[in-house]
């Protein structure tokens, strides 16, 4: 039985040599690939074929990688299970009755099942780290501005980054080296990533490394997850790392702030899907607004509609200050809390996901329940920081991920610490 990790399988050969020569890479289906259908997991883009490559895809090809397909995802990245895809769910290769996590579920499943050596995902609120944790692979959410978003179909552009998924920390770091660095077509990229080396930091040396453990990210997590996390932490200590508890009071408001900001940005970003430049054809009755509303009724799934409507609501007259402005305050508060915690620690550690992988269909009818599963990942996006999810072990036969959060552009320290976790 297929995992349905891919929406479109293809073979796009890269250059003859380069650091990724001979390696196959799966690319999430919201990253533009010239001449290869790019659906974002949505009926709206069922037959959309981009006329250009995303910067990260150009860099993959120049590095010698072979693109083997476009991976399944929650529609426009909006979900935590890959079940909101218009193309049906992907299964978790570890346990096929369970979800692979999301939204980059196809990318994580492809890597975990060996259907690709490496994969690209995108992470707006945990969409690389969650499926990495659920499928037992490594995923990196880079610092905001490290990797170009040119050619990434926008969902919430102030939060999202493209990043690698891979079987090991070192191979994830190799892929990050290839895609990182400034791009004059994305003005939010920084010079920090130019010529950066990450893979050689995967040396497992954590002697003297200080690890802060935010108590708020442990409370309320599934006990089996906490036990596995604590065992991995003890193992780090045995290797010479020092751990201490920290408190980040602001994370108690992170899920609310994340959803208000992400939904608000989505309501604006997804206004482009009007059925004129791309999208399904509809019957020609009615005026512009009526035709527009009909195309969007047909082309978008429930979760996308929910987020666009709630984002529209949060930005509408009379509610902007109550929701959007307060969410921006929460974002600033989070940044300050993280700055303070990272002044006393090299990295922060938590379970990536507070729960074990859901059963297929378990959370679809209760959107708020799905949102709450993102409690440990969304704070990182709001603070623009890098984080990595690395397998910490198993509970009841299911993978548990350990998340490490670092200072801005300090991916090397994350790679070093994570390589000690997997050792």
């Amino acid at each position: 039985m297929s995992l349905d990790a891919f929406i479109t399988e293809t073979t796009v050969e890269g250059d003859d040599d380069g650091p990724l020569a001979g390696r196959s890479v799966a690319v999430k289906d919201n990253i533009s690939t010239e001449g290869v259908r790019t659906t974002c997991g949505s009926a709206m883009l069922d037959d959309y074929v981009p006329p250009y490559d995303a910067t990260v895809v150009e860099r993959l090809k120049a590095a010698g990688a072979t693109v083997v397909g476009k991976t399944n995802m929650d529609e426009f990245g909006m979900g935590t299970t890959t079940e909101t895809s218009a193309f049906g769910p992907t299964r978790n290769p570890v346990d096929r009755s369970r979800v692979p996590g999301g939204s980059s579920g196809g990318s994580a499943a492809a890597v975990a099942a060996g259907e690709a050596d490496l994969a690209l995902g995108s992470d707006t609120g945990g969409s690389i780290r969650c499926p990495a944790a659920f499928c037992g692979v490594v995923g990196i959410k880079p610092t905001y501005g490290l990797v170009s978003r040119y050619g990434l179909v926008a969902y919430a552009n102030s939060l999202e980054q493209i990043g690698p998924l891979a079987p090991t920390v070192e191979s994830a770091a190799e892929l990050l080296e290839v895609i990182a660095g400034p791009d004059d077509r994305d003005a939010t990229t920084r010079d920090a990533g130019a010529d950066a080396a990450y893979a050689d930091a995967a040396d497992g040396d954590v002697e003297g490394l200080t690890v802060g453990v935010p108590t708020e990210l442990i409370e309320g997590a599934d006990e089996r997850v906490v036990r596995t996390f604590e065992a991995a932490l003890a193992d780090l200590e045995a290797q010479g790392a020092e751990t201490h508890e920290v408190s980040l009071p602001s994370v108690e408001r992170a899920v609310q702030a994340y959803y208000v900001i992400a939904m608000s940005e989505a309501s604006s970003n997804l206004a482009r899907f009007d059925g004129v430049r791309y999208g399904p054809e509809t019957e020609g009755e009615g005026n512009w607004n009526e035709a527009f509303a009909r195309v969007r009724e047909e082309g978008f799934g429930d979760e996308v509609k929910r987020r666009i409507l709630l984002g529209t609501y949060a930005l509408s007259a009379g509610y902007h200050d109550k929701y959007y402005a307060k969410a921006q305050d929460a974002r600033a508060w989070l940044k300050r809390d993280f700055d303070e915690a990272l002044a006393e620690a090299d990295v922060l550690a938590s379970p990536t996901m507070p729960v074990l992988p859901f059963e297929l269909g378990e959370s679809l009818d209760d959107p708020l329940r799905m949102y709450l599963a993102d409690a440990n990942t969304v704070p990182v996006n709001l603070a623009n920081l890098p984080a990595i999810s690395v397998p910490a072990g198993e509970a009841d036969g299911l993978p548990v991920g350990l998340q490490l959060i670092g200072g801005a552009f300090d991916e090397r320290t994350l790679v070093r610490a994570a390589s000690a976790v997997e050792a």
């Binding site: 003005a187 108690e252 509609k305 709630l310 529209t312 300050r336 507070p354 729960v355 708020l368 709450l372």
Partner: protein, 137 residues
């Protein structure tokens, strides 16, 4: 769905039993009284945010998305739940954030872009090299 309306400080995680009376961490109280503008002592987290179907229809109209009646009813229930969860933002303190923003400028220069044919290739309807849309009024 009262499990979603918890006091600030409490946090529900999917799959976990809600903590009914998790205390507000002491550190956070210090935060509020020492450095931040004081909010109401007991934030109004119980405030219901009822969403009636007309409001859903109004927002859907603003967002230009047609909804059928089933969707309107379902969204009204879900939105009430989600918006009351968002009410917890009421007690977030104001934080002075230094703007970490710099304008990124470059000279305008002519570069190759998409050809007209490439730009039109995904359009459901075109005419004489233009996108074709419905009438505006």
């Amino acid at each position: 769905m009262c499990r979603h309306r918890l006091p600030p400080g409490a946090r529900v995680v999917a799959g976990a039993v809600p903590r009914r009376s998790a205390p507000v961490p002491a550190v956070r109280r210090d935060y509020r009284t020492e450095t931040l503008s004081a909010g109401p002592e007991v934030p109004c987290y119980m405030s219901e945010t009822p969403v009636d179907p007309d409001e859903v229809r109004h927002v859907a109209d603003l967002a230009r998305i047609d909804l059928d009646e089933d969707e309107v009813d379902r969204f009204a229930v879900q939105f009430a739940d989600i918006l009351s969860y968002f009410d917890a933002l009421d007690d977030v303190p104001e934080v002075d954030a230094e703007a970490d923003l710099v304008n990124v400028m470059r000279p305008d220069e002519v570069r190759d872009g998409l050809t007209q044919e490439e730009a039109l290739r995904n359009a459901p309807e075109t005419e004489d090299g233009y996108f074709k849309g419905p009438s505006v009024s």
